[in-house]
Chain length 368, copies 4
C-alpha cells in the first residue's frame, strides 16, 4: 500500500508507549472509515480564485457507509476555540454524532457543511421526502500560507468524493485531504493517526485517533520528551502559534456521551507531551465517538445499552493521551516538503537530523 | 397526615396543567424519600450565636435508605450561580449522584457536607475501613432575614436526623427543613413539591420536583399567568431579587446523564411562568436524577442500561416545566407567616385575596 | 414606513411590562442595524431545486457598517441545541463577536457562512492580502414545511444583500428574511423584535431583542399569561415542538463577555412566559452582545474598558425577559398567512379572536 | 529561610524552560500571600478520631489581608472532576473570587468552608451586621493513605490560622498545609510552586502557580521529558491514578474572567509534560485569578478596567504550562519521606537516583 510505504514515526526509531492496533490507525476501530479529497494544482504567485491550490477535504465515517443510518454516541471539547466545528451544539445536546466528521480549510467549512446535507438528500429517500434536517459536523484548520484559501476552491463534489472514497485499512498521512496545506511546529504538518489496543484484562478495546495538525512553534516541539525543536535546523519562522489542531477520537468501548467527553478532555494531555501551549490563534477542537451500542439512536422505544463503568476508563484515558502524542509526530514524519502560493515553502521535518537529536538524548530506538 | 391538612395551590382553585401523581409530590417517583430537620427557637432581637433560630436541613434520598449503595444518574444546571451546590463537579464528570441531595442555609453548607461523609462512615464498614472518599451534594438558600445565620446553629446531628427521618408518602411543604426561613416573591416561601404522571402512550413515567424557594420580587409574581403580585397587598419590601431557588427534579424515566441535564435546563421555563427574572443575587441551581437503571454505578464490568430516545423526551420536558411552575406556588401557599430575628416578619401570601385576584381574571377554578 | 404599518402586539391591546425604546426594536440600541433578503417565489407542488421558495437571510450588524472593524463583546447560550449557530466556539473563547449575526434556514447555514468570509475578503484589503481568517456566526431555523429547503435556494449574493441592506430605524417583522417560512405555536411565525429603555437611575441603558421564531405548540401558547392557545381556533396541527428559536440580544450597557452570557441565560425565562417547554426538536440558541467598549478588540496594547457591576444588572435581566416575551408575540402578530410547498398553508394568528380571548380573561388593554 | 533551605528541582540540575520570578513562587505575583496549618501527630495503627494525623490547610490570599475587601477576577476549569472546589458556581457566574482559595483534605472541605464565613463575620462588621453571604472557595485532595481522614481532625481554627499566617516571600513546599499527606506519581507529593516573569516586550507580567499534588502513577512520570518513573526504584505501588491535583494560577496581567479561564484550561498541557493522564479517580481542578484591576468588584457605578488583548496572551499561556510542569516537580523534590496511619510509608523521590537517570538521558544540567 502506498499509504504505508513512507516511514512512520516508529519506523524512525522514535519511542512511544502502549500497544498499537494492527494498523496503528483510527481504522483499527472496527467500522471506522477515512476518505480524502486532495487538491493540489498550480504554482507561483497567488492570484485569488486561480490558485495555487493546496487544500482538501477529509471524511471520517464512524460506521462506514452506514454513517447516516446509525448515529454514534459522541462528545466534543474545545481547548482553544479559535476555530470551527459545526454541529457541536447538537452533539452536546443529543449525545449523538449523526453523520461523518468532515475536516477542511477554514474558509470552506460552509460549502462542505451544506454538501453533507445535499449528499444525504441525494442518497436517502427519507431525507428528501420528509421533514428532515441535518446539522453536519465540519471542522477546519487554516492553510492560507500555502493555499489560495480566499479562492474558495473546495466545492460540494469534493466533499462528496471524500465521503465516497472512505475506506477501512491503512490511512494515508501527511499532505492529504484537509491536511494538505498544514504547518506544524515549524515544519510541514498534515494528517496523522495512531491507535492503541487495550489488554484483555482491560476489556481489549481499541481506541484510535485521527488528527489534522497545523499548530505550534518549532521552539516548543518535544518528541519522545526531547526538546528537538531547538536542535533541529530552523523550519519556517513563525512568531506565534497561529495554526490549529482538530482531533477525532474513536473507540469501540461502550462509553456514554458524558464519558466520551472525558476522552476529549484528555487530548490536551497528549498535546502537552509534544510541547503545545495552545496559542491564542489556535483552534484546538476535539471530538470523540464510540462505535459501540449500534441502534442506540433509533427514534422509537426504550433502548438497551452497554456502558463501561467510570472505574474502568483509565486505560482508555491513557490510550487517548498516547495516541494523540504519537499521531502528531506521525503527521509530521509523513508530511513532505511543499511549496505553495507565492513560492512559500514549508520543509518536512528532516528525518536524519531528528534521529540524530534523539540519539544524543539516548532516546532513539533501533530503527525498524 | 398533618402534611396534607393545609390547603395546597390546587385546593385554592388555582389552575395548573397536566396530571399529577397520587401525592402531587416528588415522592410519587418510586423510591424517593424526603426528610427534614426544622429548627425554630427563640424570638426577639438577634444575638449572634443565640438566635432567634429559623432554619433547618432537607434531605432528598433518590433510592431511600439505599442512597449510598446504588447511585443514580444525575446532572445539574445553574441558571444564576449566586449560590452553592457542592459535589456538582463530580456529578458532571461521573454522571452520577452518589448520595442524598441536602439543602440548608447558606452558612451551613459546610457542616452538612462533612456530616454526610461522617454519616456514611458511621453506617458503612467499607467507607470506614478502606480507601474511600465522598463528595456530597449540599445546596443552600439564604435565611438571614429571619434566622441567626451567623450563629451557625445547624450541626452534624441535624443533617443526620434529616437523612434518618426521610420517608416516602406525603411531603410537608412551607416552613420546613432548609425551607424554614425562606422568602419568595415578597411573601413567606419555603419548601414546595409537585409531580406529573405521564400518559401510558408517553411511557407512563412519573416526574417530580422538590424545591426550596427563596427568590423573587412581589411585583413580578405571576400565578396561573395572572400578575397577582401587583394586585395583592404589599408583603415585605424587597428592592432586589436577593434570594435563591434550589430545584430537585426526579424521574423514573430511563434517562442518561446528558438527558437529565436537559431536564435541569428546562427548570427556568417553569420559573419564567411564575414571573422570575433570576436576579443577580439569586442562586438558582438545579439537579435532576433518574431512579431507573439500578446497579448502573457498580464499579466492575460492563453494565446493561435502558435509555429513552431523545425523540420521546418532550412529555418529560413539559412535565418538568409544569412541576416547577406549580411547586413554587405550593411552597408559597403552604408557608405560614413567620417572625424571626429582630422581629422581622414575613407574611404568608393571603389565600383569600389571591383567590379574589384570580377570579378577577377569570382564572379561578371552583375550589375543591 | 411599511415596516410599521401593520399592527404590533401592543397595538392590539396586549399588555406587556416595561418601557420600550422609541421603536420597540433592537435598533433602539444605537448602531445596531438589521437587513433582510426575503425569497418568495413559485407555488404548488414541491419540485426539489425549483421551489416553491419561502426563505431568506437576516443580518444583524452590531455596529452597522463597521461590523468587521470593531468587534463587540458577546456570549451565547443554548437552551436546546437541536440547531446550529456557527462561530460560537470562538465567541466563547475570545469573548468577541467579530462580524454580523446571520440567520437563515437550516440547510443554508454553510453558504451564508462562507459568504460572510467572501464578503469581507471583497471589502477589506487586509483580509484579502494577509494572513486572516474568519469564523462567522450563522444561525438557522427550519422552514421545510413551506420552503423547498433541499433546493438550496439561498446563495452567497443573498447573504451579501442582507448585509448591504442593513439599516437602523424601524425593523420589519413577520415573514421577512430568515423568518420568511417560520411557524410558531401553531400559527405563522417569523421575525420579531422589541426593546426596553431603562430608567436613568438604572443607567438609562437600552436593551433590544431580535428573534426568529419557529418553535412551539399551539396548546402551550400563553400571551400576557393567558393560555390563549387552547381557546383559539386550531392552526396547523403539530404533534411535537419541532421548530426552533434564535434570539439576538443587544445592549449598550457596558457588559463583559461573562455578563453577556448572563443575559443569554435569561432568554428562557421570557420564553417560559409565552409557554415554551423547548421540545427535543427545537434549536433554541441565543447570542447577546454589547455595543459599549468600542475599540476593545484591537490587537495591540492594554485596553481601557468600562464594566457595569454585577449588582446593577437586574434591570437588564428583567429587560431581557420582557423583550423576549414581547418579541415572540410581535413576530406572531406581524406574520401573515402563507402558503408554500405542496400547498401547505400556515395561518396567521387571528387578531380579533386573540383579542376576544384576552378580553375574556380581563387582560386586554384598550387598543391603541 | 527554612522554606528555601531544601533543594528545589532546579537546584538538582533539572532543566525547565522560561525565566522564573525572584522566588520562583506564586508570591512573585505582587500581593499574593500563602499560609499553612500543618497537622502532624501520632504514629502507628489507625484509630479513627485519634490519628495518626497527617493533614493540614493551605490558604492562598490574592491580595493578602485585603482578601475580602477587594475581590479579584477569576475563573476555573475541571480536567477531571473527581474532587471538590466549592464556590466555583459563583466564580463562574460573577467572574470574581471573593475570598481566599483554601485547600485541605477531602473530608474537611465543609469545616474549612464554613470557617471562612465565620472568619469573615468575626473580622468584618459589614458581614456580621448586614445582609451578607459568602460562598468560599475550598478545594481538596485525599490523604487517607497516611492520615486519619475520617477522624475529622481539621477544625475551624486551623483554617483561621492558615489565613492569619499567610505571608508573601518564599513559599514552603512539600509536606505542608493541605499538602501534608499527599502522594504523587508513586512518591511523596505535597505543595509546590513556581513562577515566570515575562519579558518587557511581552508586558513584563508575572505569573505564578501553587499546586497541591496527589495524582499519578510512577510508571507515567516524566521529568524534563525523561520517563524517569520507570527507571527509579519502585515507590509505593498504586494500581490506579487515585489522587488529585489542585492548581492555583495567579497573575498580575490584566485579564478578564473569560481570559482567566483560558489560563485554567492550559493547566493540562503542563500536566501532560509530566506524564499525567488524569485518571478517573483524580480530582484535577484549577482556578486562575488576576490581581490587576483593583476595585473592579465594587458594587456601585460603572468601573474602569484594563484588559490585555487576546492576541497578547500567548506568553501567559506558555508561562502557565511551564509553571505547572515545574511546580509538580518542585513539590516532589521538596516532599520528604513520611510514615502515617498503620505505618504506611511513602518515600520521597530519591534525588541522587533521579539525577542519575536524567544524566543518562543527557538532561541533567550542572547542579547549582
Amino acid at each position: 500500500m502506498a499509504a504505508q510505504s513512507k516511514p512512520r514515526a516508529r519506523d524512525l526509531g522514535i519511542p512511544f508507549d502502549g500497544t498499537p492496533g494492527p494498523l496503528n490507525a483510527i481504522t483499527d476501530v472496527h467500522g471506522v472509515e477515512v476518505g480524502y479529497t486532495t487538491l493540489i494544482s498550480g504554482s507561483g504567485k497567488l492570484k485569488v480564485g486561480e490558485g495555487p491550490v493546496r487544500t482538501g477535504v477529509t471524511a471520517v465515517l464512524p460506521r462506514g457507509k452506514n454513517v447516516f443510518g446509525d448515529p454514534v454516541f459522541a462528545a466534543w471539547y474545545s481547548l482553544n476555540g479559535n476555530g470551527e466545528m459545526t454541529g457541536t451544539t447538537w452533539v452536546e445536546e443529543s449525545g449523538f454524532l449523526e453523520g461523518p466528521v468532515m475536516i477542511t480549510n477554514t474558509h470552506s467549512v460552509g460549502v462542505v457543511r451544506d454538501a453533507v446535507i445535499q449528499y444525504r438528500v441525494q442518497h436517502n429517500n427519507d431525507a428528501a421526502n420528509s421533514v428532515w434536517w441535518g446539522l453536519p459536523v465540519v471542522a477546519e484548520t487554516y492553510d492560507g500560507y500555502l493555499n489560495d484559501i480566499n479562492g474558495f476552491h473546495v466545492k460540494a463534489e469534493h466533499a462528496f468524493h471524500a465521503i465516497d472514497s472512505a475506506a477501512g485499512g491503512p490511512v494515508q498521512e501527511g499532505n492529504v485531504g484537509g491536511g494538505t496545506g498544514m504547518i506544524c511546529n515549524g515544519f510541514k504538518g498534515g494528517t496523522g493517526t495512531a491507535s492503541r489496543k487495550l489488554e484483555a484484562k482491560d476489556g481489549g478495546y481499541t481506541l484510535g485517533v485521527l488528527l489534522q495538525c497545523n499548530y505550534g512553534q518549532q521552539e516548543q516541539l518535544r518528541i519522545a520528551g526531547v526538546p528537538v525543536g531547538r536542535e533541529l535546523p530552523p523550519g519556517i519562522p513563525r512568531t506565534r502559534d497561529e495554526g490549529s489542531i482538530i482531533v477525532v477520537v474513536a473507540t469501540d468501548a461502550p462509553l456514554l456521551p458524558h464519558q466520551l467527553k472525558r476522552l476529549a478532555r484528555r487530548v490536551p494531555l497528549g498535546l502537552g507531551r509534544d510541547g503545545s501551549y495552545s496559542g491564542n490563534g489556535s483552534g484546538d477542537i476535539f471530538i470523540a465517538f464510540s462505535t459501540a451500542n449500534p441502534g442506540a439512536w433509533d427514534r422509537k422505544g426504550v433502548k438497551s445499552l452497554s456502558m463501561l463503568p467510570n472505574d474502568e476508563m483509565d486505560p482508555l484515558f491513557l490510550a487517548t493521551v498516547q495516541c494523540v502524542e504519537e499521531a502528531v509526530i506521525n503527521a509530521m514524519v509523513a508530511a513532505e516538503t511543499m511549496t505553495g502560493i507565492n513560492n512559500h515553502t514549508v520543509n518536512a521535518i528532516p528525518h536524519q537530523e531528528l534521529q540524530d537529536v534523539l540519539r544524543k538524548y539516548n532516546r532513539l530506538l533501533t530503527a525498524k
